[in-house]
Amino acid sequence: MNSAAPKSQVIRMYAAREEIHPREATGRYASLRWVCVWLTQLVYYGLPWLGWNGRQAVLFDLGARKFYIFGMVLWPQDFIYLAALLIICAYCLFLVTAVAGRVWCGFACPQTVYTEVFMWIERRIEGPRSARIRLDRQPWSVDKAARKSAKHAAWALVALWTGFTFVAYFTPVSVLAREVASFALGPWEGFWILFYALATYGNAGWMREQVCKYMCPYARFQSAMFDQDTLIVSYDTARGEPRSARAVQTESKGGGDCIDCRLCVQVCPTGIDIRDGLQYECIGCAACVDACNLVMDKVGLARGLVRYTTAHAVTAGLSAGAIRRRVLRPRVLIYSALLLLIAGAFGVSLALRLPLKLDVIRDRGAMGREVENGMIENVYRLQIMNTAEAAHTFRVGVTGIASIALAEPVEAMLEGASARTLAVRVRIATGAGKPGSNHIAFELEALDQPSLRVRESAVFIVPR
């Protein structure tokens, strides 16, 4: 970032942030980004309002430790799915970055998305780039104060709504709305609404590119996934240089295609000059591509002076087809294979997941006791979790040793999404089983739905 500064300049160890006033970019990539903004935010802001089976469709009830996602109720025991989901997300990031660089950063990352929304508000209130720069240089006036406070008020509203939506994933939105309306928020709800709002306001309004440059770990380690065939936003140096103003060019009929209009620098949200080559600040948003294409159209030159291409393609002059063929390189294939494998396993496991869990805990107070007719009895605690939303009655069965049976038949009714502990006694006849521990298994079956059954192994102890 200081490459343009003269070598002799003295710097301080802590530099003030230089305000960046990005010019609005329009074009194919800007539109694509707005599509991403709409898609992600419709889902984010809309989901809490969606109903399902008489409850909120997506609700993470931390108090009851039940996580509702449409027709599914996840319990803390299902946390493995969250781990798998995060692994899938990580591989998606690896794959996308290896193929197309930091497109996640440039188009879908919440930091980019909210910054885009906040900049839109800024443009509506303070005007385009030149007006904003002028306004910032002006001394304080009524107009400036009015515009600035209107902007911050609008930002705060969006931020508060974002915070409210965030908490609505944890407290049902109907309850939360009532609490907000009557100023009866719980302390944690209030804290998280304000905290999330403050984070949104601060990050999208004030911090912006600082988040990507200094805070975000992914920004830095994505560079490690780049190779010579990764798509990056690049300036075609061979075609553009030597750059010179249009007037000079027409006069001398020489020089490169770059007319040095600096629009690519003005639209850059991180304030870099893409013509200096790939830099760690570049989030791959392609605003400079849009800006340059527009200029090339105006001056009647071919588009693509700044474009998505690969380092390899620039040096070797590869065609678009050759770039596409190089996508199928080992790194990409390995990422894709792993991703497909994990996502497939995740999907299958989720689809085959039974909404019933059984834990068996053998009573430790007694080994095995002798009951009538010399039978040996062990006592177990069965922790039954009905994770479906419908009530079921379950029958307990036991297998594993000849003559093994429950001392008395056990059937248990469980309400939807509830757990229950049952004490059951298991008996075997004298002489059955070997002294010491014997492997047995408990079976739990829903009376109204035979496919809903689980099996859990346990140990039966015969005293020596």
């Binding site: 070598k7 003295v10 710097i11 301080r12 160890m13 006592v379 004490a423």
Partner: protein, 304 residues
């Protein structure tokens, strides 16, 4: 805060803490005013030719450091941390625990209180109270009495009709509240020779219909007077003392000849702990109702 045996260590820790914070501030201040030529390096060279540019940090980052210092000082004023200074808020982990307990009591107290006002037999017939009682039992009682409440060697079965101290719900509640200490004194010396102990054991076993030598039984009956003080002349026990009925088939410690002889010779000392202070009366009320319902049919009683 008597963790320190000497006042010196209190001062030592407090001084070290404050000096460290001041040192951090000093470092920040000196670095904030440090200037370097752009493009110069830190002087750190590794792997032959790699160097680190003297690139400035963002200034807001420095403010974060200052904020941590302010936070640390504020924390040390409000909370314990500076030597033995207790902090202006007087916060203690013990009081935080007590506050949570009080919150839980405020939340669940009314429910327990509502049951505590009802008769134990009525509570026993309430399915919701039964479920609470079951959970309480599995948490606090199952370790000794078993998850199925059928007991274990030395710990009575609570599902039969045989009670050491009485099976009325009020008595059960009293047992849980105040605990019991069942003492069977060692009778070996009082009975005399080891042969006498064996004879008494045979007599006691014969009362339950177990195999016993008829001659030893006769001799044992003659010696049973020593036991009758507690177990009664008819060996049916005494619930006021917690002396078990020896004429039924229930054996708390085991009914084999060797075990009965051991019991007579060495005595037994069984303890049921008191739960009044630990659980509180309302929870014990629910527990007593649950335990009573294990050997009675509460719904029938309640309907009467």
């Amino acid at each position: 805060m008597a963790d320190f045996t000497d006042g010196f260590w209190n001062l030592y820790i407090a001084l070290l803490t404050l000096l460290s914070i001041a040192g951090c501030g000093l470092l920040l201040w000196s670095q904030a005013n440090y200037k370097a030529a752009a493009g110069s390096t830190t002087g750190h060279v590794w792997d032959d030719d790699l160097t680190e540019l003297n690139t400035p940090m963002p200034r807001w980052w420095m403010w974060l450091f200052w904020i941590t210092i302010v936070f640390a000082l504020g924390y040390l004023v409000l909370y314990p941390g500076l030597g033995s200074f207790a902090g202006r808020l007087g916060w203690q982990s013990a009081s935080a625990y007590r506050r949570e307990l009080a919150q839980a009591d405020a939340e669940y107290g009314p429910l327990f209180a509502q049951y505590a006002r009802q008769d134990l037999r009525v509570v026993a017939a309430d399915p919701k109270a039964h479920a609470i009682g079951e959970r309480l039992f599995l948490t606090y009682c199952a370790q000794c009495h078993g998850s199925d409440a059928r007991g274990n060697k030395g710990f009575p079965n609570l599902t039969d009709k045989d009670w050491l101290y009485g099976g009325a719900p009020e008595v059960i509640k009293n047992t849980i509240l105040h605990g019991r200490n069942g003492v069977m004194p060692p009778m070996g010396a009082a009975l005399g020779a080891d042969q006498d102990v064996e004879n008494v054991a045979h007599y006691v076993r014969s009362l339950s219909g177990l195999t016993a030598d008829p001659i030893k039984t006769v001799f044992g009956r003659a010696k049973f007077g020593a036991c009758a003080a507690c177990h009664g002349a008819d060996a049916r026990g005494n619930q006021a003392l917690g002396a078990p009925n020896l004429s039924d088939k229930v054996w708390l410690h085991g009914g084999s000849e060797a075990t009965v002889m051991e019991t007579i010779r060495k005595g037994r000392n069984s303890t049921m702990p008191a739960f009044e202070t630990f659980l509180g009366e309302p929870k014990v009320h629910l527990l007593a109702a649950y335990v009573w319902s294990l050997s009675n049919e509460p719904t029938k009683v309640a309907k009467k």
